[in-house]
């Protein structure tokens, strides 16, 4: 089509730590040794907790459960880049990030054992519960950021969603609002290449998700999501800009879901083992261990000790989980409204009567 170009755009890709753990020193962010070690510990804890929960699920002690294996770097490194009062608005594949924010290890087990109690965020601030309706949490992230902005507060909001979720209207609407309002948002998309059985090629025609930011003239970048340093650096810089009032950023983190979508899923039905193997080589934890080793911060002995420590923590969490006595059954009536409503209390009474009678009959 003959005509004149009126605007040019580009999108960049960033990797700091390559697949072999070699760092690009020009890009290397300044992170204290303690923080680096914390990042490693959190990623490993998340991995081991996932593995344990999978076992519990297979034994019938947990319900359907999504795991984060292979994607730990994204949410953990993003969370490391955040201040304590920055909001963390996740979906369901950010176990590592939640652990970084201080989530007790027993909580996810409670959630996946069908208990809302697991959504309690004692000890953490500004971390929202697991969100199941895809992309529906992204408008919340923008509203939260709007409140920050008009009150002139100094924190920001980091939200997470998957590649498939960028097809939802909620996602588009939210990014447009954020760009228009110039809210302090960082939108992290975990592009793990699959939405259950749907590969990117059936999800979208565009070659990257980062370029979707162009639709909103939003600062956007694609990073190696299995590279914790790249994720950290991109998130940190985005947060700095957000807090300076320079508006939102879209970060596409390229990663991979190494296991099943949830425990109800069988990836053999739709994807080749080869593809998975390629990505196993890019494992974020292995890579980061090499990096720490190169920095002389880590060695096999320390690793052994850490594994043992983590195992101890998880054992304790499982024990706590298993010690939880029965739930109070009428609790849903407590939280339906902030004030007591007659119609609800009437139904609660009927519920309790029936519960008692059902028990008597049984």
């Amino acid at each position: 089509m003959p005509s004149k170009v009126y605007a040019r755009f580009s999108v960049s890709y960033m990797q700091v730590l390559d697949e072999d753990g070699k760092v690009d020193s020009k890009l290397e962010p300044s992170v204290s040794d303690d923080e680096l070690l914390k990042l490693y510990r959190v990623m490993l804890t998340s991995r081991r907790l996932d593995e344990r929960m999978l076992k519990l699920q297979r034994q019938g002690r947990l319900g359907t459960l999504p795991v984060c294996v292979g994607q730990e770097a994204v949410s953990a490194a993003a969370a490391l880049a955040m201040a304590e009062d920055d909001w963390f608005v996740g979906a369901y594949r950010e176990l590592a990030g939640r652990v970084m924010r201080g989530e007790a290890l027993v909580k996810p087990m409670m959630v996946y054992n069908g208990m809302e109690e697991g959504n309690m965020t004692e000890g953490m601030k500004n971390v929202t519960p697991v969100a199941i309706i895809l992309a529906s949490q992204i408008p919340h992230a923008v509203g939260i950021a709007y409140a920050i902005k008009i009150r002139g507060e100094k924190n920001a909001v980091v939200s997470f969603n998957g590649d498939g979720s960028t097809s939802e209207g909620d996602w588009h609407e939210a990014l447009n609002f954020a760009a228009t309002w110039q809210t302090p948002n960082v939108f992290v998309v975990q592009n793990n290449h699959w939405a259950i059985s749907t590969p990117l090629s059936k999800q979208m025609h565009n070659r990257s998700i980062a370029q979707r930011g162009i639709a909103y003239d939003m600062e956007s970048i694609q990073v190696d999501g299995n590279d914790p340093l790249a994720v950290y650096k991109a998130t940190k810089e985005a947060l700095d800009r957000a807090k300076k009032g320079e508006g939102p950023t879209l970060i596409e983190a390229l990663t991979y879901r190494m296991l099943m979508h949830t425990t109800a899923d069988d990836p053999k039905k739709y994807r080749k083992e080869d593809e998975v193997e390629e990505w196993v080589k890019r494992d974020p934890i292995t890579r980061f261990r090499t990096y720490l080793g190169n920095k002389k911060l880590w060695n096999a002995k320390k690793d052994e000790a850490l594994e043992a420590e983590i195992k101890g923590e998880i054992d304790a969490a499982v024990k706590e989980f298993e010690s939880i006595s029965k739930v109070r059954m009428d609790e849903p009536f407590d939280y339906i409204f902030g004030e007591k409503e007659e119609i609800i209390e009437e139904q609660r009474q009927e519920f309790l009567d029936d519960l008692r009678k059902d028990k008597e009959d049984a």
Partner: protein
């Protein structure tokens, strides 16, 4: 006490509440500079600035979705849907998040917000501009649905809705926006939500209505009370959910006869729940079937036919007479 139209009464409530409480803001399509297509938010932009009278981009889902986020972070947004016919775009956010956040987080995150909007027929508008679908909202647990019928009720109930700790859907009968004025005591008092209002007491028959139908029904009741010397109790439902079953049951136990006038479609409109409540609590007192005068289970026609699809004075009158006469 000023005499106000419903539009003015709502506008007054918004002004006062935004003055009183810094966390309250209004948002929606054209609510700022333009003051809303019905001028309900007139003057708020000038007075409180564009941060608190937000001309939002054109997306109902995100207006409600971001309002939920604002509410989770300490604000009290009053979001306008330009017409209720477009509010269904917000159902996913309301049902999926607004109404659930308290339960999901066991009270840690709450969503004190209002979605307000004009609804109902009778203003010669285009398609989708004449809907009465309060059922969608009343059937969604975790939120309240309120419909004022007069300027005064609109004022006090909107204050209540804004102060309520949970999401409230506030549906304004646009047919009554400027149809009549009423003295409004602008004392800043909130009425209690979840309570029906007995407009007039009576012993022979109970009539229940709400929204734009209330005004119309009131006239019929007045006339019939006189013409037939009947003692008719008229109840303004006011809150569709949580429904005031106690008031309904008490009245029907007294009168034994009941007519419900509802603008919404027949199947699964609020009248169906009212009848069910009567069944649950007062069936054995009934001396006649409950009569419902409702819209029909069709698409609300464009305005050449619309008027006949909203309960007419004639239909209301005949329903009351038949129910009074039923033996």
């Amino acid at each position: 006490m000023p005499k106000l139209t419903m539009v003015q009464a709502i506008n007054l409530a918004l002004h006062q509440e935004m003055e009183r409480d810094e966390s309250v803001l209004v948002m929606g399509q054209d609510v700022g500079v333009n003051g809303g297509v019905f001028r309900v938010t007139d003057g708020l932009g000038d007075k409180f600035g564009s941060d608190r009278a937000i001309d939002a981009p054109l997306a109902e889902g995100a207006i409600i979705g971001t309002a939920i986020g604002m509410a989770m972070n300490g604000l009290k947004p009053v979001a306008e849907m330009q017409f209720s016919g477009f509010s269904y775009l917000s159902i996913p956010q309301l049902e999926g998040n607004g109404a659930r956040m308290r339960t999901r987080s066991r009270g840690q995150f709450t969503v004190p917000m209002v979605m307000r909007m004009p609804y109902g027929g009778g203003v010669r508008a285009l398609e989708h501009h004449s809907e009465s679908k309060e059922t969608y909202y009343a059937h969604t647990p975790g939120m309240k649905t309120v419909i004022p019928s007069t300027p005064k009720a609109a004022y006090h109930l909107l204050l209540a809705a804004i102060r309520d700790p949970d999401p409230v859907v506030f549906m304004e009968p646009k047919h009554s926006y400027r149809a009549f004025k009423e003295e409004v005591d602008d004392n800043g008092e909130a009425w209690e939500l979840g309570k029906a209002r007995t407009v007039q007491e009576g012993t022979d028959l109970t009539v229940i209505s709400w929204g734009a139908m209330l005004h119309r029904t009131e006239k019929v009741v007045e006339q019939l009370s006189e013409d037939r010397n009947a003692s008719i109790e008229l109840i303004d439902l006011q809150t569709i959910y949580p429904m005031d079953g106690a008031t309904i049951a008490k009245s029907v136990m007294k009168t034994g006869r009941c007519v419900i006038v509802q603008e919404a479609q027949k199947t699964l409109g609020p009248a169906s729940e009212i009848i069910s409540i009567i069944n649950d609590k007062a069936l054995m007192y009934l001396e006649a079937p409950v009569k419902r005068v409702t819209g029909y289970d069709v698409i609300m026609p464009y305005f050449a036919r619309e008027n006949q699809y909203v309960p007419t004075i004639g239909r209301i009158k005949r329903a009351i007479e038949e129910t009074l006469d039923f033996e």
